[in-house]
């Protein structure tokens, strides 16, 4: 039964992805800005322009262009970036690890922070402490990553200048890496000084991405925990003499965590979408920052590749969440 759900979801995902491909392709072709005009030197003749257009296949009719592009994509060929003059797949492969490490770090921070505050709020329920947490959290829920990122700039780069404002790692350190997963690699190879440098660069963007998600986690998890805390099994454990913290962590959390996991998964796609602007603010060299440059430079093949990549990530995350929720909850398995 689960298999049928998987197959069905994958088919739907493929349709969605095909739709994304068509939408982005058509959208870019109605752009008034001409990519060739942006890359050619001012003295170029009309013949040069025609030749260049032919070189990038931009002179063919639209359906032909689409066919060439999409059949390439199916074979893993996303074309060549017009501004960077390298394969789109190579650019994406070199930039994606930075975004993956940032997004996962932000997710971890959000879960730890949100989970911690939710547990603390549950322990303090019906006290002034809970009121303070609720009040602050209702404001936190409204504030997007864009505002957090800039507030952190003001705080940690200007007021208390302890964190680097831009980049992913000190350029001098970036040489000695075999992969683009700098953080993972430096931890695995025991280069903790490098890891510290990377973490200090990652701290602000990761926190900016994590805080909105943490607020969502606090609200839902605290609600679920409070509901669980009045159930009979918690009462039983209480009678057995377990301490309050044990009751929350060992008894209530296990039963309350389901809905929060599902929502966290869905919200993770928002977090990934947020990397676009947050990476921009901190000049962090991931695919989000790359995407803004690609759009401003009208680099069609790169934009198309990036949008498909983002679409694929979103769909995979959503599918993973759906399957995890279905696997965890027998009642939803047939939905």
């Amino acid at each position: 039964m689960l298999l049928a759900v998987v197959v069905n979801r994958m088919a739907m995902a493929l349709v969605t992805l095909a739709g994304v491909a068509v939408v982005i392709f058509v959208l870019l072709r109605v752009v008034p800005g001409d990519p060739v005009a942006m890359m050619i030197s001012p003295g170029a003749s009309a013949a040069d322009i025609v030749a260049l257009k032919a070189h990038y296949g931009l002179d063919a009719p639209l359906p032909t262009q689409f066919w060439i592009w999409i059949s390439g994509v199916v074979h893993g060929d996303f074309g060549t970036s017009i501004t960077l003059h390298v394969y789109v797949t190579d650019v994406l492969a070199s930039r994606l690890p930075a975004t993956i490490e940032l997004a996962i770090m932000a997710l971890i921070v959000a879960v730890v922070l949100g989970g911690g505050v939710a547990v603390a709020g549950t322990l303090m329920r019906r006290t002034a402490g809970e009121t303070v947490i609720d009040g602050l959290n209702s404001i936190m829920l409204a504030v997007p990553d864009f505002i957090w990122a800039l507030a952190l700039v003001l705080l940690f780069a200007v007021a208390i200048p302890v964190l680097p404002l831009t980049g992913r790692i000190d350029p001098a350190l970036a040489e000695g890496f075999a992969t683009r997963f700098y953080l993972t690699e430096s931890v695995l190879t025991g280069r903790f000084a490098d890891a510290g440098n990377i973490l200090s660069h990652m701290a602000m963007p990761a926190l900016a991405l994590a805080l909105p998600l943490a607020a969502v986690i606090v609200r839902l998890l605290k609600q679920s925990l409070k509901e669980a805390m009045v159930q009979d099994y918690v009462l039983l454990a209480r009678i057995k003499g377990f301490r309050e913290l044990h009751l929350v962590l060992q008894e209530a959390l296990r039963n309350a965590v389901g809905p929060t996991l599902a929502l966290t998964g869905v919200q993770f796609t928002f977090l990934i979408g947020g990397t676009v602007i947050v990476e921009r603010i901190f000049s962090y060299p991931g695919i989000g920052n790359l995407a803004i440059d690609a759009v401003i430079n009208r680099d069609f093949p790169l934009i198309q590749g990036l949008v498909l990549l983002f679409g694929l990530i979103f769909i995979l995350v959503n599918m993973g969440v759906d399957l995890a929720v279905a696997a965890l909850n027998p009642r939803l398995r047939h939905a």
Binding site: F146, L150, A291, I296, F310
Partner: protein
């Protein structure tokens, strides 16, 4: 023709319950946040009268003057000046004009289009529903910030493009919620009754279902206004919103980010304005949802 509505039964059931407006006025969240937004509207309308200076007047002699109370501040420049010696306070005040225009127009249009499609999908079901739902799925597979930047790049910069981009992206928020709500309402007895009496489909949709979906819609619209303000700021930040001679919070933030080490107030002032506006729209939306939603109210 007199027809059944939930409100009437409640009224007949006993002492007069407070009306929706009375409930709203008792909610401190709604009053506080709503009051702030009214204040912003007045500020935007009266900007030329209220702003102490011309927001575009440059004075390079008085560039990056710190706010009042800090060393080397200048009298008359309450929030200091930016890198070109323009008055930060006046620019923040004029910035409300673009932000609020976007908030009301973009969110309103997104609401109109999204809820119309949502009503149709939820009410008609079948092929129409499948088509619209698939469209929403495709839309949701784009990162919203990337899509908005892309759209503005396609449409060209300017206020109209920003509004169009927000509408094109955020109609899905309304569509999804309204579709689910409509499907729920369509199962209710009063809709079945209306069908039985022989009401035409458009009449059922707009006279029966829409008023019952409206509370959720109003709350969602308010939340969307906050989102629209942020999206405009992001587009201004990237340099894709209105032209640089119109003061916007996002444009000021972008400039402030560049000179943050020399003049932090150029970033701090518009950021604080943006923060307060977003929180206000959000709290208002929350309060409205609580007061208007018949289920949450209990």
């Amino acid at each position: 023709m007199e027809h059944w509505s939930p409100k009437q039964t409640i009224t007949d059931a006993g002492p007069q319950p407070p009306t929706a407006v009375e409930r709203l006025l008792r909610d401190p969240k709604v009053v506080g946040a709503g009051g702030f937004i009214v204040f912003l509207i007045v500020l935007a309308l009266a900007a030329p009268l209220v702003a102490p200076m011309d927001p575009l007047a440059q004075n390079l002699v008085l560039a990056t003057v710190p706010p009042a109370g800090f060393a080397e501040s200048e009298p008359g420049y309450l929030l200091g000046t930016d890198g070109l010696g323009r008055d930060v306070l006046s620019r923040v005040i004029f910035g409300t004009q673009v932000s609020l225009t976007v908030a009301f127009v973009a969110a309103g249009l997104a609401c109109l289009i999204g809820s119309l499609l949502g009503l149709l999908a939820g009410f008609l079901g079948g092929f129409v529903d499948a088509l619209i739902s698939r469209l929403v799925d495709i839309w949701m597979a784009f990162p919203p910030v990337l899509l908005s930047i892309l759209l503005v790049a396609v449409l060209g910069t300017g206020l109209h493009s920003v509004i169009a981009a927000i509408v094109v992206i955020d109609w899905t928020r309304f569509c999804r919620v309204v579709r689910t709500e409509t499907m729920g309402q369509a199962q209710m007895d009063y809709v079945v009754a209306a069908r039985t009496i022989g009401f035409a489909r458009p009449a059922i949709l707009f006279r029966e279902i829409l008023p019952n979906v409206a509370p959720v819609l109003i709350a969602l619209l308010t939340l969307e206004m906050g989102i629209a303000v942020v999206v405009e700021a992001i587009l201004s930040f990237v340099g894709l919103s209105v032209s640089s001679d119109t003061p916007t919070w996002g444009g000021m933030i972008a400039e402030g980010r560049q000179i943050v080490h020399e003049a932090w107030w150029v970033l701090a002032a518009p950021l604080a304005a943006l923060f307060a506006t977003v929180v206000a729209f959000n709290q208002l939306g929350d309060g409205l949802a609580r007061s208007l939603d018949p289920v949450l109210r209990r």
